[in-house]
Symmetry: C2
Subunit: 364 residues, 2 copies
């Protein structure tokens, strides 16, 4: 009964549990068809929303101050007695909490990444998902029927208004972006031939995960983090904390309204998927125009495999763009290579980074 | 990078993918802490809602008639062109669809369990989750703060009104219940000492998965499926289709208002968790009162392990009871044994069935 079915991602495997499986033989192969995997995927929102609500409530932040018994933790979080223990123990079973002698504490990963008081906090993304994204996905069927986004824009509200409402909330959100990008940022810093270049800019840099990692791994480089003006203090604090403030500076700007920075290498990460086909091509062309001869453009995100069969996360992220944007969509390495070639880039290549992410590189 | 972290369930393991993992060593152990598993669980609602919407839209039912290209499938389902291919290919990556020479078809498990035209259809539960349960979980944080359910009852509507609105919808939903129960039904039929008994009744029987399996495996038994009157035609059709209509009959009733059937063995599956502590004890006592000396009561559901550390599904199901009912909750084998002992049962034992399910057995 303890067996899994593998869902292959590009360069990674998703193993799904067969916790309801009655008809599985001992050698791990499916002996008879069972609906268990279908239910497993279909009820995945239970665990997801439980973790999102825990982040929203600041549960891990409270426990980072020290272990607490159920009643004290419940009171601190303002929870009703009815289901507080089930909530806490579900998080124990999901291995995000530990419980010893009746006191709850964070698992090592929760302690490091889900305590708002630590610079390593990545829960801003989960808080955002808890209060808005999860709910917007309720309307996926409607979105598929109409092609229209299902977020605050529908009601005429600004989607990210809540996130950007205070510097603290903005920083929290941008830290979360760093959390999902750090692995790929390190891979870009290591895999791209930086020795041939001296300057770079990261367009839509957020907290600056990529510029910081690129600068840390390549002492000869100096770079720019380019983003909307509100991002500046968060970026500069992060660059300083990582000891690269002397080589990495912030440049405020709107990449549709202004010319991109003049540097040897332009990086665009998790940007293109927000926009429709025409806008994507405009951005790729703007990168081409801003680069010198021999300069490079790096596009990285959860690039879908060309056969559109393996990278489930990239394909699901494209549905997230349906929910969140008027025309955005994720794309394959082949599609991105085509837009780059059309803009004039040559020597275009696609390389895997980390998890579902790959980069597409083109030379001017 | 191809590694997993194991979440142990009672008697089963949930392996979660590390598709975003940058810092995992090749031998499968975590070399450095990474937030990837946190994001993995937290974004599980993407895949979940995608599968739920596919069931709601009848996508698998359409493909069961024959393979279709993307444009034909899109038109048949009434989808907007924008994201239809991403939707279909996400289901390919989740291994619920196949795609050959540009034509989509169902995976073997989707073909068997997600075609509304087949008696093996279990998608009724997914359709229900898509149109109501997923959305109600949006309000988990509020539910945890107030202890109050977050379903249609909040608005004064009858929770299952839509599901029971037509005989077809009711049958579809009850088939889904069979889908998640079949493994445990077979285990109950095989593991309980039925040779010592001649008659049984399944209280809250739904389509009759348990009575049918018990009767099939034990030709000397005759039994009753007990449920609300609307369930009768669905139950009788299922019993007849399985060739046990001569030994398994339907008895309409309301288990709070009426005396339970007089039989040797009373089964209560996925019933007790719907109710508060007092109501649970009333039901256990009613079972005791209805049984003869030497008779047995079998309670089965996603019984939580006594340490409340392993059975994540049972603990999450308890949060689902918070969302769906005024006072329901899931429980451990130890708790259930206590209620049974209090009612007068003896020789109480807990035995694992399939997946997250166990049974608690007591003798009068």
């Amino acid at each position: 009964m303890n067996t899994t079915i593998e869902l292959k991602h590009e360069r990674s495997e998703v193993e799904l549990p067969m916790s309801l499986a009655p008809d599985i033989s001992k050698n791990g192969h499916v002996a008879a068809l069972s609906p268990d995997r279908i239910f497993q995927i279909g009820t995945g929102f239970f665990a997801a929303k439980t973790v999102l609500s825990a982040a929203e409530l600041g549960l891990f932040t409270e426990l980072a101050k020290g272990p607490l018994d159920a009643e004290t933790l419940r009171t601190r979080l303002g929870l009703h007695p009815r289901s507080a223990r089930d909530f806490f123990d579900a998080l124990v079973a999901l291995k995000l909490l530990e419980r010893q002698a009746g006191k709850y504490s964070n698992s090592p990963e929760a302690e490091l990444f889900l305590d708002r008081a630590k610079p390593s906090y990545v829960g801003g993304l989960l808080e955002m998902a808890s209060v808005r994204l999860y709910g917007h996905w309720t309307h996926l069927t409607e979105a598929l029927r109409t092609g229209a986004p299902q977020n605050e824009a529908q009601a005429g509200d600004e989607p990210f208004a809540a996130l950007y409402s205070t510097p603290e909330k903005l920083e929290s959100f941008l830290r979360g972006m760093t959390g999902i990008t750090l692995g790929s940022a390190k891979a870009i810093a290591a895999k791209f031939p930086w020795q041939q270049h001296r300057t770079f800019a990261d367009v839509g840099t957020a907290q600056g995960a990529v510029p910081v990692q690129v600068a840390l791994a390549n002492p000869h480089l100096s770079g720019i983090g380019y983003d909307l003006p509100a991002v500046k203090p968060v970026f500069e604090k992060y660059a300083a904390a990582n000891g690269v403030a002397d080589r990495v500076r912030f440049q405020p700007g709107d990449f549709f309204k202004e010319r991109l920075p003049s540097v040897d290498v332009l990086i665009m990460g998790r940007i293109l998927h927000d926009w429709d086909l025409e806008q994507k091509k405009v951005l790729v062309s703007k990168a081409f125009d801003a680069l010198p001869e021999g300069g490079a453009c790096i596009v990285y995100e959860a690039i879908i495999d060309d056969a559109r069969r393996e990278n489930a996360f990239g394909l699901l992220m494209s549905l997230n763009m349906l929910i969140e944007t008027p025309g955005g969509f994720d794309f394959t390495g082949e599609e991105c290579s085509g837009w780059m070639a059309e803009a004039g880039f040559r020597k275009i290549s696609v390389e895997h980074l980390a998890g579902p992410d790959s980069m597409v590189v083109g030379i001017k």
